[in-house]
Point group: C2
Chain length 293, copies 2
């Protein structure tokens, strides 16, 4: 495992780019390979077996890059597939976004036995991963989970806070969350920060007071930095600026267009890997990837 190896960040689509943004700020010298499984998104309405299969295929495909770290930058994939990915690839360092999100929630609540509300995909809610992760940090915390299944399709459709449909969806989901009178709201999906201001304003209005809203991106990046530092794998400062390469399973023009909303800056068009190549076990995708990097 070399210091110059890339960090791999994977997601069902665009949401994981919010983690890339935080990583870029914190670790500007690192090379990052982003993988968005855009041919098979969304993950949040799908079953544990299927999401585990997809995550396993992606890591197997990227394994020849010898990544120094793999971030599963999708809450659904973390909640359903992180232990399985660690068991299947024991030689790799793999982390997710649920623990950092839980930590962000507990830290922001700033009191023991806080009431922490989490909005997430259906699959993440069903997994109870957030309840378990929060209980490990604050056993007295009261956790309520609200599934918000349409927010990912709405965001991947390019709609923003100005869109009445996005506003109505946020209003519907937060009305449920607000009833529990939360001390803090955790955005349990890497897509949701795109609507953060709308979510903050709506929740505060519904609760009649300011309620902090947190997400896992910054905490996730800090977690990766800590892991790399412990293993002495951080690229030193003062070096070259790290590169960012994006791979997608569907070469939709939408990706490059929407990516700038998630990253805050434009990226070149991503490279395309056919979903067939992910599963057929031929050596060609590996060779393709090696040539390209």
């Amino acid at each position: 495992m070399l210091r110059n190896s890339p960090i791999v960040v994977l997601d069902s689509g665009l949401g994981g780019l919010t983690v890339v943004r935080s990583l870029r700020k914190l670790l500007p010298a690192e090379d990052i390979v982003y993988f968005g499984d855009t041919a098979r998104l969304p993950y949040g309405s799908k079953s544990p077996e299927v999401v585990r299969t997809f995550v396993s295929q992606i890591i197997r495909f990227l394994r020849p890059l010898d990544p120094k770290h793999v971030v599963i930058a999708c809450n659904t994939a973390t909640a359903l597939a992180l232990p399985e990915a660690r068991a299947e690839f024991p030689e790799l360092s793999v982390s997710g976004v649920v623990e950092p999100g839980a930590r962000a929630g507990v830290d922001a609540a700033a009191a023991d036995s806080a009431h922490i509300s989490v909005i997430a995909t259906e699959a993440t809610v069903r997994s109870r991963a957030y309840e378990k992760a929060i209980a490990r940090r604050d056993p007295g915390a009261v956790v309520t989970l609200t599934a918000a299944p349409l927010l990912v399709p709405i965001i991947e459709d390019g709609r923003d806070a100005a869109c009445p449909l996005a506003r109505l969806a946020v209003e519907q989901y937060l009305a449920t969350a607000a009833k529990t009178e939360p001390d803090v709201l955790v955005l349990g999906c890497t897509h949701y920060p795109i609507l953060r201001e709308l979510i903050e304003a709506t929740l505060s209005r519904l609760c009649g007071r300011e309620v902090p809203v947190v997400d896992s991106a910054d905490h996730c990046a800090q977690d990766v930095a800590r892991r790399l530092a412990v293993s002495n794998l951080l690229r030193g400062p003062g070096g070259l600026e790290g590169t960012l390469r994006c791979w997608v399973t569907d070469d939709s023009p939408r990706f490059a267009k929407l990516a700038s909303r998630f990253l805050g800056y434009s990226i070149p068009s991503p490279e395309w890997v056919s979903p067939d190549e992910l599963t057929n076990g031929s050596p060609s995708p590996v060779q393709t990837l090696r040539r390209a990097i």
Copy 2:
């Protein structure tokens, strides 16, 4: 090709069941195998290359059943992959839903050079398949296409006409379609009939007059019946009632729950085929399928 072979109906998810419902009514003696690619839905936001790969994998997987006919009961998959599927499987009889939908539109307009409006997924709109199919039947028709990308996620989420979010989405999309003052509206996606009454009421209100709304399901079933009759492959009446087996790539409990909305009656739980099995070329799925049928 035997008279007792099944008819295969495939779709990205649940929408194709509206075609199954029409087939069941028209050809009650036929055995039907339904395949919903629920692990990788929706198709409507994805690229031609990816949708062609998915359709090819599904037909290759089901090929050992020797289907007497294959219906691509998804407008996106028909628009993007029908000619390719016919070229790849020349020994199979394959049809889609765009031609029947176009015919339904032209018939309902009941006048030459009608103004025909079509709502469909982004991918179907981009393909221009409806414009071409309508032009073949009525070269003077004026066709306008409106992409309605969020209707499939909303319907697959189980929302109906009573839901304010579904109503707002329909209102937004039809406001665009109504501006063109259509003589008829074609539902260019097999999911949309679930919201047919809401769509009819909203469009008539926006246009200030009754506008007929048609879909492809009944015309598609008539088209299949005609093809089977020509090939002398229809099962005679008075026989046993045909069977319906459902296969999905994600064994979501949602499938059986929502299927009854599309079919009008309940079905047993579907069988699960892993997306890995669709692509790895091992003989096991074929054996599984043969055993099960």
